[in-house]
Symmetry: D2
Subunit: 135 residues, 4 copies
């Protein structure tokens, strides 16, 4: 720990608003894609994590907007995973233009560990091992 990963996303027309940059909530979808790909890089996708009975619902989300993301721009999403406590998982995320490196946004999400249905639980050993072993 920490575990890091990088992925790229193309800004869709659907992401834009009438200010001609990506609407602010869309960054949270990109954060999601960033952490999905980070988890996949550890050898177990979030889809399989859910199949194995563990949910990681978002408990908190924060985003600071540093520059516009334009339609059709390729953005680079850097995600970093840490476990600030036994009960919480945290992803820090930085988004920048893949072209010129210009900062677009940065933020984080904090996740709880729950069973399927939303009841809090302690992270299972296989999850801790996944984190300890790294990518």
């Amino acid at each position: 720990m920490p575990i890091e990963h990088e992925t790229e996303i193309r800004v869709r027309y659907a992401d834009t608003d009438q200010m001609a940059h990506a609407y602010y909530s869309r960054h949270l979808e990109w954060f999601e894609q960033g952490r999905t790909e980070l988890l996949r890089s550890l050898g177990k996708s979030y889809a399989r994590i859910e199949e194995d009975g563990l949910w990681l619902p978002v408990a908190e989300a924060y985003c600071k907007y540093l520059g516009a993301a334009r339609y059709d721009e390729l953005v680079r999403v850097r995600s970093r995973m840490t476990m600030p406590s036994r009960a919480r998982l945290r992803f820090d995320c930085r988004i920048a233009s893949a072209g010129d490196g210009r900062a677009i946004s940065e933020g984080y999400t904090i996740h709880a560990f729950t069973n399927v249905g939303g009841k809090p639980l302690r992270p299972p050993k296989w999850f801790a091992d996944l984190v300890d072993d790294g990518p």
Copy 2:
């Protein structure tokens, strides 16, 4: 039959794209809200229909775009429900500006009847009664 209903929706900033009108897929969300309110007017919300084991997944959707829906505009969604066959439910939808009546879009969705999980089934008697009794 047919059963009709009307509801109003405020266009959000989130709905707009860089052409400064609502992005095309957002009309389908408004269609959804229209049929949700139509079903509620029959005395049984779609939420309760799902709780009672019936899903109405979308099998087809069509939309013709007639005029821009602008940010903050109040639009009127007129929905009309018919059962073109024993196995299909259809909602026709027309969206117009609530202010000046200007046409915005029109289209339809066609829905299958399935159980929870997606297996096709014949619509239960209580659903047929709901439709026959009307609002």
Copy 3:
């Protein structure tokens, strides 16, 4: 100051995800609708604010998720506007179930003042008057 406002929103099927509650970024759309209605209550909609050459792009957004928002649930969005500095506008937002008052989420957005195009500017006098006069 502060200026407060309350509005209600119906959770759409489009808002839900496979955990069967509203996806986390959708809360930010509800925050938007909350501040749009607050501004309208002051006598000048955000649509007209933009027409008069002032943009209020989101500089920061935070949301804490306190309870699931379910499909078809009516939620109450309470918004509160303050000006923490001459260059920033802030909306605090609390979302609760309109039915039983159960807390759903709370957070804030911080906005810059820019011209059309995104160049920072000092808030014009008419905006300060709008804020001072209140609803």
Copy 4:
């Protein structure tokens, strides 16, 4: 003509609804990504087409849903562009699972040619050349 292109998209959690498959309007975002990549393959991105003063707003959209798109599934989007008349551009789109080829949806969008602002115009010569030259 016709001109064809294929691209792949990963289904996001944001795309899912409480039926645990992608919400129906999200397919239209994938259609958008498909035609964006097709146009790029011709040597001029839609971003640059807009910069050169040509808009291609959606006039009609249709989608038939053939099978669920699941969270984290990789889907293959096949797009095919034709010009059914001098005033209309058409994209036919088929989405299938990239894994097992299972059909997910198929549909089309029909686009008008307008200037920036939405006034209809005849497609400029450079656009016709783009189409004639192919990828």
